[in-house]
């Protein structure tokens, strides 16, 4: 399934921590305006895939094409500057900084081909943040932090966002808000790559899915194709 207009195209991606190989020949694509899910169990290599794409792992090889440009050799900040946003699994809020200051760190100039976000627009999607704008990031609930970390990434006006396990550890009500937020972002024209363990969540937001296990891609297809393959689910995702 090769899209000529793929937003992100990863091929032959290998990554290792020390001498332990984590990713082997990972290949995946995210189409423009599409929400793609990366499914896998704990430790399957989802977060490592994201970190390798962003150049946060020193020991890696392979090709990362973003917007038709090879960014494999670029520094992390340079990749982010090209409009590739990243929301880490552990949120990594700057706990000493206020909500507003956290957002300020993420701010980048508007760019063509990507939605432009302002504080006001973000506060519309995440109304909680408006009330908390002067509060230190460290003194927020997990759900609020998750919203903040997404908003912070959006401040960079990305055209594609890597969203690492957005539903992890959140209360059901917050998960619903998260689903809405992802749909909002998609409506704005953003492309998303969302890693998930929660199949229900993935079904509600994703157009296509990849399944990763032990650092290798085991399945690629639309969500409908994935649902037609219970063997894939049982082999690589069931606990």
């Amino acid at each position: 399934m090769t899209h000529a207009d793929a937003k992100l195209r990863v091929s032959g991606l290998n990554a290792a921590y020390g001498q332990a190989l984590i990713l082997t020949d990972v290949a995946l694509e995210v189409g423009a305006g599409e929400v793609t899910a990366l499914l896998g169990r704990n430790g399957a290599g989802k977060s490592t895939t994201f970190r390798a794409i962003l150049g946060l792992i020193a020991n890696r090889s392979g090709k990362v094409i973003f917007n038709g440009e090879d960014v494999s050799a670029l520094a992390t900040y340079d990749i982010a500057r090209r409009g590739l946003g990243y929301v880490p699994e552990d949120r990594r809020i700057f706990s000493d900084l206020t909500v507003e200051e956290n957002l300020l760190v993420g701010r980048q100039a508007p760019r063509a081909g990507a939605p432009t976000w302002t504080l006001e627009r973000l506060f519309k999607i995440f109304p909680n943040l408006r009330e908390l704008r002067g509060r230190p990031g460290g003194r927020m609930s997990g759900g609020e932090q998750q919203m903040l970390t997404i908003a912070r990434t959006l401040m960079g006006n990305p055209s594609l966002v890597l969203l690492d396990e957005p539903s992890e550890g959140l209360a059901p009500k917050i998960v619903e808000q998260m689903i809405e937020a992802i749909r909002d972002m998609k409506r704005e024209g953003l492309s998303l790559l969302v890693s998930e363990q929660n199949l229900h969540f993935a079904r509600l937001v994703a157009d296509r899915a990849y399944v990763i296990e032990k650092g290798r891609i085991r399945f690629a297809g639309t969500m409908a194709e994935f649902d037609a393959r219970p063997d894939v689910r049982d082999a690589y995702l069931a606990l």
Binding site: Q19, A58, T76, Y77, P88, F94, D96, E101, T153
Partner: protein
């Protein structure tokens, strides 16, 4: 290396001793206000160090050198310009010039080694310090330079009947002003927000698209600017000299540790505390004035391990630790090689003359010293900045046994290590309560306490004059005989250290280094194990120190000084922290090189500094580490190994 604190502190001490013990109340007040004025420069320098550390995680040892450069360049510039405008312009310009130099060093040197272990950056900046010291000597000469008085502020005002310099009043006002400006800079500008974010999580800041290269560079430039400004502002108060760098850096490290690393307000408070302790310590306890500051620091660290306003470090990178190399005892071939090497060394006296035997003896002694420090750093992950304390205690223990108690060399060689062991047990108890940079700072503080006791307690230690006439017994007096004795003891010491390293105790120690949490979870008692290893390392360092006393025939406070502690670190890092034999190879290389350099040039610091900087850039894993990864590359299937 030159004695460190011989100029300024003891001078103040002598002055204080001349005074009567009871002073009028207004004198105390005057002393208090003088302390406040001194706090200004100290705060400027310390806040610069603190800011740099916060973002770049570099303990910038060269900060003292930048402070000194600020004073020297300020001196030159104030000579050029006159009038109030000229004076203040010159002070400011000096700070800017030094900041530019610092920026250049950051771009050329530090950028290459940000990813190296923290200690490498310390080493590199220590190398820079050495270079700057000799350059200052070359450019401005060896004499102290008396700076100009500030125009319009030359006089003194009457403060409860005592004259008080108006310039000091200005400094007292300047401290809070700078504090306020820094606060505004960090709270009210985008740059400040980015810096604070980077202080917390550099990787995330990069993932958000911030080019940290320039953030680091600008932070470094600001920090250096503050240091240089602090130095230039001291010109009207004290003369510029080429020992002021190490003097200020010790005080600054203390300030930063008391206040909390990375916390500017804490730095401000701590600068006042330290300055007041200096001001009053001399009056109240003239004999232990230096000790007082360090005692307070030790106390603060025990009560609040991260300083007054600091917070716990989020899992700081260990100095060694990330060892991918597999450590293993020597295999049969390795043992054979060691036996052969020992045989060759033992036969050396047949081939070389007395001079080279003496040099070889010295190198051997430092091999043991470095091996003991390597045991602590490499296996324990405990980076000591003050390992010379135990070396020096060994020297003094041996010398005192000989001089005060009339024992022979044999007994002295036991007494020295015992004193070092006792010191390590006492100091270690405190030190193992901390970890990371704070552990390093506390070891430095204790080394300074030991140094100042040796320096000030002249009735027993001879003070600056040291203890002379520490010669070996007749049977060991010939260079060849003393060489053999040293070789035997050093070989035995290193063999013992290696046996401990590959014993269950050594495994526990390395387990704690690699993951404190996991090791404690399986029942290893961190403090006790690290305390014992601290004592072991101290004991063997003291054995080296005792031998050194007999080699040189004398003992001086230098034997406990910071330069020697740093030498130890250089040797270990040069050899390679992550390797088993790094300390041995590093010591042999570095000591031979430095002896050779010192005998061949008047500017040995310049040469050594350049050498350190080049080696750090070329061999970020140390010499042995570089060799072993080269070997691993040639035989990829075996993986990395170290023996």
């Amino acid at each position: 290396m030159a004695p460190l604190f011989s100029r300024s502190w003891p001078l103040a001490l002598r002055v204080s001793v001349q005074h009567a013990r009871v002073f009028p109340l207004n004198f105390y007040f005057d002393q208090f206000v003088t302390g406040l004025a001194s706090a200004c420069s100290l705060f400027l320098v310390a806040s610069g160090l603190s800011i740099i550390f916060g973002v770049t995680r570099i303990v910038n040892f060269a900060h003292g050198a930048f402070y000194m450069l600020g004073a020297y360049i300020g001196f030159t510039l104030t000579e050029q310009f006159s009038g109030a405008f000229g004076f203040w312009g010159a002070i400011l310009l000096a700070a800017i010039v030094v900041a530019a130099i610092g920026t250049l060093i950051e771009i050329i040197l530090l950028r290459r080694i940000y990813d190296a272990p923290e200690l490498f950056q310390l080493l590199a900046t220590f190398g820079v310090t050495l270079i700057v010291e000799d350059l200052a000597l070359l450019i401005w000469g060896p004499n102290e330079l008396l700076g100009p008085r500030a125009p319009g502020l030359k006089g003194a005002i009457d403060l409860f009947g005592l004259p008080f310099p108006t310039y000091d009043l200005l400094l007292i006002a300047l401290g809070p002003l700078v504090l306020g400006l820094l606060w505004l800079l960090f709270r009210r500008t985008t740059w400040g927000v980015l810096v604070r974010a980077a202080t917390q999580d550099r990787e995330m800041v990069a993932a958000l698209g911030v080019n940290q290269k320039w953030l680091f560079t600008s932070v470094f430039a600001l920090g250096v600017f503050l240091a240089a400004l602090g130095g230039a502002l001291e010109l009207p108060r004290q003369s510029a000299n080429h020992t002021m760098d190490l003097q200020v850096i010790t005080e600054v490290l203390v300030v930063v540790v008391i206040g909390g690393l990375g916390n500017v307000l804490g730095t401000f408070l701590a600068a006042i505390i330290v300055s007041e302790l200096n001001a009053f310590g001399i009056l109240v306890f003239p004999k232990i004035s230096i000790v007082l500051v360090f005692l307070v620091m030790a106390l603060v660290l025990i009560v609040r391990p991260w300083g007054l306003l600091g917070r716990a470090e989020a899992a700081a990178r260990a100095a060694g630790g990330a060892a991918i190399l597999r450590w293993r005892p020597l295999a049969a071939r390795g043992r054979l090689a060691v036996v052969l090497a020992l045989a060759v060394l033992a036969l050396a006296p047949l081939a070389v003359g007395d001079y080279y035997l003496t040099v070889a003896t010295e190198v051997l002694i430092f091999v043991l010293f470095a091996a003991s420090l390597h045991f602590l750093i490499g296996a324990g992950g405990l980076v000591s900045f003050g390992h010379a304390a135990y070396f020096g205690l060994g020297s003094y223990g041996a010398a005192l046994a000989l001089k005060q108690f009339g024992l022979g060399m044999e007994a002295a060689l036991i007494a020295g290590p015992l004193l070092g062991l006792a010191g390590a047990i006492l100091f270690g108890w405190f030190c193992v309560r901390l970890s990371g940079v704070y552990f390093a700072m506390l070891t430095l503080a204790f080394a300074q306490i030991a140094w100042s006791v040796a320096y000030q307690w002249s009735d027993v230690t001879g003070g600056d004059n040291g203890l002379l006439g520490i010669w070996p017994s007749a049977w060991a007096a010939a260079p060849a005989h003393f060489y053999w004795l040293t070789l035997a003891l050093v070989a035995a010491g290193i063999a013992a250290l290696r046996m401990i390293l590959f014993s269950p105790f050594g495994y526990s120690l390395r387990a704690l280094r690699d993951s404190e949490l996991r090791a404690e979870a399986i029942g290893l008692e961190r403090r006790r194990i690290q305390w014992i290893s601290f004592a072991i390392a101290g004991g063997f360092a003291a054995l080296a120190g005792a031998l050194y006393a007999f080699l040189k025939g004398s003992v001086f406070p230098d034997n406990l000084g910071i330069p020697l502690s740093i030498d130890g670190l250089v040797m270990v890092l040069l050899g390679g922290v992550d390797t088993v034999s790094g300390g041995i190879v590093g010591a042999a290389l570095y000591r031979s090189l430095s002896i050779w350099i010192i005998s061949h040039t008047d500017y040995s610091k310049l040469a050594l500094g350049l050498l350190i900087v080049v080696l750090v850039v070329l061999f970020p894993k140390g010499v042995v580490g570089a060799f072993e990864s080269w070997r691993a590359r040639r035989a990829p299937r075996t993986g990395g190994e170290s023996s």
